[in-house]
């Protein structure tokens, strides 16, 4: 059978969704942001919530995310996306509000905002893209950088005595009573992409049912920051990041009810 006979509209099984715009992404070749944008667009398209979704983009590589997803966007100051999303969701409680943040944004300058937004149990989805480095500014050490990892500001590797321990923000957030679904996923293989899509879809469905804060961490690569090829980055992530950031659901329950915290 000739290829021309296969390439016909009736045989189409996978195509770019309409939620994703035709703009060429500015991300480096092989960047995980592109895959996560695509998953978000597919979830929004499949749930039919394009008109009801409001995204809050961070400061970082994904600051220009509004160019790629055809939904309503707001741009927050560095780390303040959860605070902005709180305002948006309180004024528009029927909308699906999500924040899209990197590890430099969420785990460093925005730690206070994310902790308190999760503790208040704001009805938002948080997409946390963790690539263990500050990608946009040239590969400096982030709070999530692994011990021994070489970055622009730790040329001999991160040292425990000097820089402290890497921050597992997802485990911290899972302790808070306001969160209901906390998970850690990745996007390096087709199977992982399918799992992440399932997790993000569940998070958006939970927000529709007003279940509290949904936190999805995606362990990602930064081939430009790590100074290796995209394929080698995926291997490096599997061997070095997965032992410290194990994948899977960390919390999947209901938001705590008020009577547990009332004074007697």
């Amino acid at each position: 059978m000739d290829i021309k006979d296969i390439i016909k509209p009736e045989n189409l099984v996978y195509d770019k969704t309409k939620v994703l715009t035709d703009n060429v992404m500015h991300y480096c070749p092989g960047c995980s942001h592109g895959v996560i944008h695509k998953i978000l667009a597919e979830v929004i398209d499949e749930m039919g919530i394009q008109e009801e979704t409001i995204g809050v983009s961070p400061v970082g590589c994904s600051v220009l995310a509004y160019n790629y997803l055809d939904i309503d966007w707001l741009e927050a100051a560095h780390g303040r996306a959860p605070a902005l999303a709180t305002g948006v969701v309180r004024l528009n409680p029927e909308k699906y509000v999500f924040t899209y943040q990197g590890d430099g944004d969420l785990a460093s300058i925005g730690t206070a905002e994310i902790m308190h937004a999760c503790n208040r149990g704001e009805n938002i989805v948080v997409i946390f893209v963790n690539n263990a480095i500050y990608g946009m500014t040239g590969g400096q050490m982030a709070p999530t950088t692994l011990v021994g990892q070489v970055t622009a500001t730790t040329p001999y590797g991160r040292e425990l005595d000097l820089h402290g321990y890497p921050l597992k923000i997802t485990e911290l957030v899972a302790q808070l009573p306001g969160t209901s679904f906390v998970t850690r996923q990745s996007v390096q293989t087709p199977a992982a992409v399918r799992k992440t899509k399932k997790a993000i879809k569940k998070a958006f469905a939970n927000v529709g049912q007003k279940k509290g804060t949904q936190f999805v961490e995606v362990v990602s690569t930064c081939s430009s920051g790590w100074k290796i090829s995209p394929v080698a980055s995926n291997k490096w992530m599997e061997t070095n990041m997965f032992p410290f950031y194990p994948l899977g659901d960390i919390k999947d329950s209901e938001k705590e009810t008020a009577d547990k915290f009332k004074v007697q």
């Binding site: 059978m1 296969i6 996978y14 070749p29 092989g30 293989t189």
Partner: protein
């Protein structure tokens, strides 16, 4: 068992030659072209089109959403 044949169409100008689809393909269909596109990247193409089963693995891992997949039962 019904045999399945697939084909992929790569948007050459959007492709950044990251090689992720080549690694994800279970049947060694895709490869990076010797030539480069307008941006100077070696774009992905079907080197071995007869082996394609339209499994969508390449399209799922593509960060730039430049792969379209077709599949037919023969």
């Amino acid at each position: 068992m019904a045999k399945v044949k697939g084909a992929v169409v790569v948007d050459n100008e959007k492709c950044k030659g990251c090689d992720l689809c080549v690694v994800a393909c279970p049947h060694d269909v895709l490869s990076l072209h010797r030539e480069v596109n307008g941006k100077g990247y070696h774009y992905s193409y079907m080197k071995n089109p007869d082996a394609c089963i339209g499994c969508m693995n390449c399209a799922l891992v593509c960060p730039d959403s430049c792969i379209t997949v077709y599949r037919v039962r023969v």
